[in-house]
């Protein structure tokens, strides 16, 4: 498919059909009446990996390569459970991992179980540098 550009922004206005929540419900179907009828769940109000990849294409077209990469990493995290996200954040903080292996294991888990190769790569990079800077030491 043709890559999105800044001309496709904002998606809500230019591609309303493309903007759908996690269960595939279109925005136009998320009405107050539907909420009151109990037909809307929080999943319908959640961003999808596709939307983040779309925004990444738009950001790249706007010349914002690093922002696009962040959206690409985010797309990989959409389906990662909240607890795993918080524990991954935790293990990346200084001194939480007591050795490089902990980070390597976390990278493998995210790559293999959650199809998050960019995130995995990012964690591996951190592992290299943490080792070099001695961040696996005791902190508290």
């Amino acid at each position: 498919m043709k890559k999105l550009t800044v001309a496709d922004y904002p998606l809500t206005e230019t591609h309303p059909d493309r903007v759908r929540g996690k269960r595939g419900v279109a925005l136009d179907d998320i009405t107050l009446a539907a909420v009151l009828a109990g037909d809307v769940t929080m999943a319908d109000l959640q961003i999808t990996a596709q939307a983040l990849r779309d925004q990444a294409e738009i950001a790249a077209d706007a010349g914002r390569r690093t922002l696009a990469l962040n959206f690409a990493r985010a797309a990989e995290l959409v389906d990662v459970p909240q607890d795993l996200i918080m524990s991954t954040y935790e293990v990346l903080r200084p001194g939480r991992a007591r050795g490089k292996q902990e980070l390597l294991d976390r990278a493998a888990l995210l790559r293999d179980t959650y199809a998050a190769p960019t995130i995995a790569e990012f964690i591996l990079e951190a592992a290299e540098i943490y080792e070099k800077r001695g961040l696996f030491g005791f902190r508290y």
Partner: protein
Amino acid sequence: MADTPLPNRWRRFAEWDERPLRLDKFAREDPARGFSAFRSPSDPKPGLGIKSGRIASMDGVLAHDFDLIDAFIARHHLDPVIAAEVMAMDSGDLARMLVDMNVPRTDLVRLARGCTPAKLADVVSRLNALEIAFAYQKMRARKTPGNQGHVTNAKDDPLQLAADAAVAVAYGFDEIETTMRVSRNAWSNAVACAVGAAVGRCGVLFQCSSEEAEELRIGMAGFTSYAETVSVYGTEKSFTDGDDTPWSKAFLAAAYASRGIKMRCTSGAGSELLMGFHEAKTLLYLEARCLCLQRGMGVQGTQNGGIDGAPLTATVPGGVRELMAENLIAVWLDLECASGNDARSSESEIRVGAKILPYLIAGSDLICSGFGTIPAYDNSFNPSLFNAEEMEDYLVLQRDFEADGGLSPLAEHRALDLRRHAVAAISAVLEDLKLAQPTADMQASVVVASGSNQTRSFTPGAVTPISEAIKARGISVLDVIKALAKRGFTAEAENLLAVVKLRVSGDYLQTSAIVRGGRVVSAINDRNDYAGPGSGYRMTEERRLEVNAIRDVLDQTEVLRLEAQFEKAEAGRIAYQAAGVAQPGRARDEVVIGISPAFGVRLFQTTAGHKLSDVLRVMVAGITARGLRARVVRLHHTADTSFLGLSAARLSGSGIGIGLQAKGTAVIHAADRLPHNNLELFSNAPITRLEHYAGLGRNAAAYALGELPEPVVVPTHGEAMGARHHARVALIYAIETGMTVEGAEPQEIELRFLGEKPQERS
């Protein structure tokens, strides 16, 4: 004690000691201890070594010795190809490009991707304050300026939060941010602000600043839409003491985006100094590192410009210019900039006003990254540069400079309506979700309260069970929307739903995104295209009128309306009987009082508020007290004090006359003097008292008797007379001049005083 001066002290210094400014403390420039804005021998020279496409050294540090920050910047921020080009350019040339309106923003943004932190600092430090502001106007990412406000209170009272959020939204804040006195109250604060912000207008972005994991959970429940608590620091030791690394923060940035939540980082001068690890580097250089880091992390924006370190930064020479310079680096790096003007950096209102001005006229994505919309004592983040107390000052500054500071005046009745509605809405939600039962008294006290000192509502302890229940029961924004709709708050339910729906597309994750009129507006569909006069952001005529509409403005209709209120009462006190054309007098014992065309005809009180009948009565009494006679004439050919006085003097048998305007300006004149060379003048009518007018009458009589009396002096206390009175004075004077008739004859007036009190008629 205070009035016993030290023998060798000029008392001016004692007076200065009492000024609020002296509560501010100032620090000596001391680069070795980190107290330097722009210059330190420890700052590296800009430099970059590239070997076979890889970065071998940066700003004097070999790749092998890179710390966490260097390593992250080298890997994620620097583009080696552009770096080779820009690092070879002269910093002075780059500085000139920043202020050259003919060099497009996009060219400079491209070059920034190759600049090392030292290069960025070297370039912007060459600009003076005005040049920084100008470059900022050109380089900021989104065209339309915006503003962010704090909504908090000292009790974490949800009723007050809802009322204040509704008011903040009505003032025009694009983002509102709350935090708590008690961290467990986060959920209650989030629900209260989300409901309040949905009253009156749709589409403000909202943040509840709390612990990282909690903040993310509150966002996932749909109550909040952005976060800015992700702090970064410019030295490795500060960063790890902050319990993070660039990689952990970058991971968090991706986590927020994966939940559809807008996010910016926070950094600012002075934080490393406060944390004790500054490496003797300058404030600007350390901040340049933070900003390169943020761009490398792929966050869309930054909250930058001192922030919590702003008060400390403002203590060093050039500190305030440094805050501007770091904001410029942020926008040069193409980051959204919530430009500080947050923590109050001075007790001096003059320093506060001066601090905000460059941002107001240059515009900024979010001028304040927290304008206190509530009184300073209710600001749970600490007092902001501007708080509710100074809201009207800010609105007037916008009007003065025709600068869009993102806010609009709010009519008093509208504010009260919004508060009443917001309190009713949050009360309905609390009741419907069985979280609390706010009483009518609680609600009533909050509606009219300026701050939490005046409320009889929830206390922090009473809020905690509400907050914990919201969290424990997993109440989401959908439950709140349902409760609102069920209780008849349909518009608010629709507004809240509309904001939550915006999340699905991710449109507001792009750089500098805000929501205006329910639409996402960002640096993509509202790109700053400044290229000189006539380009970039300009207020529309509609917006200009909105900014102008502050309260209590005067016009001629208003002045005449006020005067008309006095007309009837004055008619019961004094009668001006016309008695033909006034002739030059022959009696040596008369003093002529020349009154102006509108005196007692369309204008009835002086600017000090004295009845014109009283002024004439005491003046006449002052003349007769010396055994002389007062004669009154009305002059029609002039309204000017000097000419009124001189004309009166020329008609006076004694050669002494008094000129008296309706606004109260008075002069004693003599027939043989030039028009503007009078004997005595009361130019400050607004502070002239009746006793002064009596004295003027006595002195006029004294001159007529050939004496040289002590002139009557009206003491001033340095009031800004022009600011207080000139709008009204000019309008009044225009009424006078409008009644003058060229060459018209003076008219003899017979005065009749009709007694002390006006005759009341039912």
